[in-house]
């Protein structure tokens, strides 16, 4: 395939394309994975220990041991705690009053306090939630355990520690593939229009579908490498498990990739200018994936009409399969419907791209 070979050369010659295809995904993954973690851990916490007993030490150690809190230098008085919170040096202060161990031994409700900086809403909520469990366990072990055992027990399956990184990384994989695939492919045909080489190409016996397929092959290959890269990074750096089959994973990834390449090609075919094509591609692939695929905001929380729109976002189905394979270890038996939907999108979009691609100039 002459077109495919030429396209490979274009990609190799264009440092930007290589960076965009292979560098950008890693950078994005780092940003989202590290920077935009919704997990709150390592909350800086100081302790005002006025009891100084084994019980009070046990309590502060329990908080730090969980990894959610980091021990900052101790403070002398509750007034110091107020100052530290105001200055933002710490986000939480544990106050253990005199007589804490004694009260505990007597079975009197022990009055230890955790002061949390509420101006950072997310941190505060998480800190409170985390601490409540730990504090209850250490302060009034018997009573609490009794009451808990009677109530419903909540167990989180597939992601027991509720690591948002897992969700984030799988979402970012979808986002990256959507963005890079549609972006790169949107440029390729528009560039030929802009440079006038399309006219030259049309005067040769090369057919429309040959041009489209020729452009698809190298970008699919590139996308495959990208998928590999992103999943490897996700799994090594962020410990995202791969519980299902790699074949299913890559199969679905390829289908999604083709759908995104198709979107980009349609943009490219219609727009005839690189700038417009890129914007069109971002609007039709990146934005829907980011907003309504279920990556950032749960689909179930959306208004009905938005849920309906999300039905035609291929990213939604890919995200389901990706999370299914990575976290749940789902096989193709469970994911067949999503996979078929993806295949449907891919072929429909590519057919539209070829159909809209006019061989003639006007």
């Amino acid at each position: 395939m002459a077109v495919a070979h030429k396209e490979v050369l274009h990609i190799i010659r264009d440092a930007r394309a290589v960076y965009m295809a292979l560098g950008l995904p890693v950078v994005m993954l780092m940003l989202f994975g590290y920077g935009i973690s919704q997990d709150v851990d390592r909350i800086p916490m100081s302790v005002v220990d006025q009891d100084r007993t084994p019980a009070s030490r046990r309590m502060s150690e329990a908080l730090v041991a969980g990894g959610d809190f980091v021990r900052e230098p101790d403070l002398a008085s509750p007034d110091d705690a107020e100052t530290a919170l105001r200055s933002g040096r710490v986000k939480a202060v544990l106050l253990v009053p005199r007589g804490f161990e004694r009260d505990l031994a007597r079975g009197v409700p022990a009055a230890a306090q955790l002061l949390v900086d509420g101006s950072d809403g997310t941190t505060a909520t998480v800190a409170l939630g985390d601490a409540a469990g730990i504090l209850q366990a250490t302060s009034s072990e018997r009573a609490v355990r009794a009451s808990l055992s009677a109530g419903p027990r909540v167990r989180v399956r597939f992601n027991p520690t509720m690591r948002s990184t897992y969700n984030m990384v799988s979402g970012v994989i979808v986002l990256i593939l959507a963005m890079v695939a549609s972006l790169l492919s949107s440029l390729t045909i528009a560039r030929e229009w802009e440079q006038g080489s399309m006219e030259q190409l049309f005067a040769t016996p090369v057919s429309r579908s040959q041009i489209i397929v020729g452009k698809l092959i190298p970008y699919t290959g590139l996308g495959f490498v990208q998928t590999l890269l992103v999943i490897t990074v996700g799994s090594y750096m962020f410990g995202v498990p791969i519980r299902g089959s790699l074949v299913t994973l890559f199969g679905c990834s390829m289908l999604f990739l083709l759908a995104m390449l198709g979107t980009g090609l349609i943009a490219s075919v219609i727009a005839k200018s690189q700038l417009v094509a890129v914007q069109f591609a971002l609007m039709t692939s990146y934005m829907p994936v980011a907003m309504i695929s279920g990556f950032m905001f749960p689909i179930a929380n959306m208004p009905k009409w938005l849920q309906a729109i999300s039905m035609v976002v291929p990213g939604r189905y890919y995200l389901t399969t990706l999370r299914g394979v990575l976290l749940k270890g789902n096989g193709i038996d469970v994911l067949a419907r999503d996979a078929i939907t993806l295949a449907g999108f891919a072929s429909a979009l590519l057919v539209i791209a070829v159909w809209r691609f006019r061989r003639r100039l006007a």
Binding site: M1, A2, V3, H5, K6, L9, H10, R13, D14, Q195, G196, S197, M198, E199, Q200, L201, F202, A203, T204, P205, V206, S207, R359, R360, L361, A362
Partner: protein
């Protein structure tokens, strides 16, 4: 279509909305002929070429290229034609060899067949030493030769060249036309547009486009005889106003500024240069010299366009020239 006709165009018309780019044009081009299409920008030259290459649908009329009806079967003609579009449109980020390889592949040339043809065109167009150069780093003349090489790889019967020498230096232009002549001598039909009048002299026949119409069509000599009959003199050192005053007395057919001088035309049996000079001097018109001048296609072009303007068909500026 008879054996020796390569291009046949009949009542061809192309409209873009209200604008008529090509207006009821008919002509034939023989095999091995260099057919020049001359005209101002927007006169419909490129539109005609694009139609003949099957790149634009027509509004009405018929067009056959290499025996293929390009109006109804535009895709069937592609193996038979080579096309070099106006905008230089090879891939600048590929090397010379890679561009050739791509277009070879596009024309279904592979393996030994391709290598033989590649070596042949590279030899013919003196590109051998450049195969590893990036196309973007080449000067205009070489790019143009490479574009021609790409258009010739598959040994087309008809080659369409749309302003092939635009932006190319005079030396490279001469080399280019030598190559064109050789191709034609080997039996390839050449259809070339240009707005360089001197280049049109290289053509076997020239069609003159004015505002979408084919205003004239003949050999360069024939055009000159028809449109600029008689003799032309170059008159130096005279004021055009003074010369015009004695135009009627001396039976001057035409007075045109030509650089710093004037071109003055008289009938075939009119006065010779020496006679004309003494006539001017006798009438008190100051001239420094009167010498014989060649009729050029530029004179023809000005006459034809001038004639068209008088009948109200001025060439319009238009897109998609």
């Amino acid at each position: 279509m008879s054996e020796d006709v390569s291009i046949r165009v009949k009542a061809l018309t192309k409209r873009f909305d209200a604008f008529v780019a090509v207006d009821d044009v008919s002509f034939e081009v023989k095999k091995g002929e260099i057919f020049g299409y001359l005209g101002a920008n927007g006169a419909g030259k490129s539109t005609t070429i694009r139609i003949l290459c099957g790149l634009l649908p027509v509004s009405s009329g018929d067009a056959e290229v290499a025996g293929v009806d390009v109006v109804h079967k535009p895709n069937a003609v592609r193996h038979a034609i080579g096309y070099m579009s106006q905008k230089f449109s090879l891939y600048l980020d590929l090397t010379v060899a890679e561009n050739l390889e791509f277009f070879g592949g596009a024309y279904d040339l592979f393996g030994q067949t391709f290598r033989t043809r590649r070596d042949a065109v590279m030899h013919d167009l003196a590109l051998e030493t450049l195969s590893r150069e990036l196309t973007g780093s080449l000067p205009g003349g070489l790019r143009q030769r490479l574009a021609l090489a790409c258009a010739l790889l598959h040994e087309p019967q008809v080659v369409f060249l749309d302003e092939p020498t635009a932006g190319v230096d005079p030396d490279a232009r001469r080399t280019f036309w030598r190559l064109i002549r050789r191709l034609a001598d080997e039996g390839t039909t050449i259809f070339v547009t240009t707005h360089y009048m001197d280049e049109a002299e290289y053509c076997d026949r020239v069609g003159l486009m004015v505002a979408g119409k084919l205003a004239a069509l003949d050999t360069p000599e024939g055009l000159k005889r028809t449109f600029v009959p008689g003799r032309i003199y170059e008159v130096q050192g005279a004021m055009i106003g003074e010369v015009q005053k004695s135009a009627a007395d001396l039976a001057l057919l035409d007075i045109e500024p030509f650089g710093a001088a004037l071109h003055v035309r008289v009938a075939k049996d009119g006065p010779d240069a020496e006679k004309l000079r003494s006539e001017f001097t006798g009438r008190g018109v100051h001239v420094t010299s009167v010498i014989d001048a060649e009729v050029t296609l530029e004179d023809v072009f000005l006459r034809v366009v001038g004639g068209a303007e008088k009948t109200g068909r001025a060439p319009k500026e238009a897109k998609g020239s």
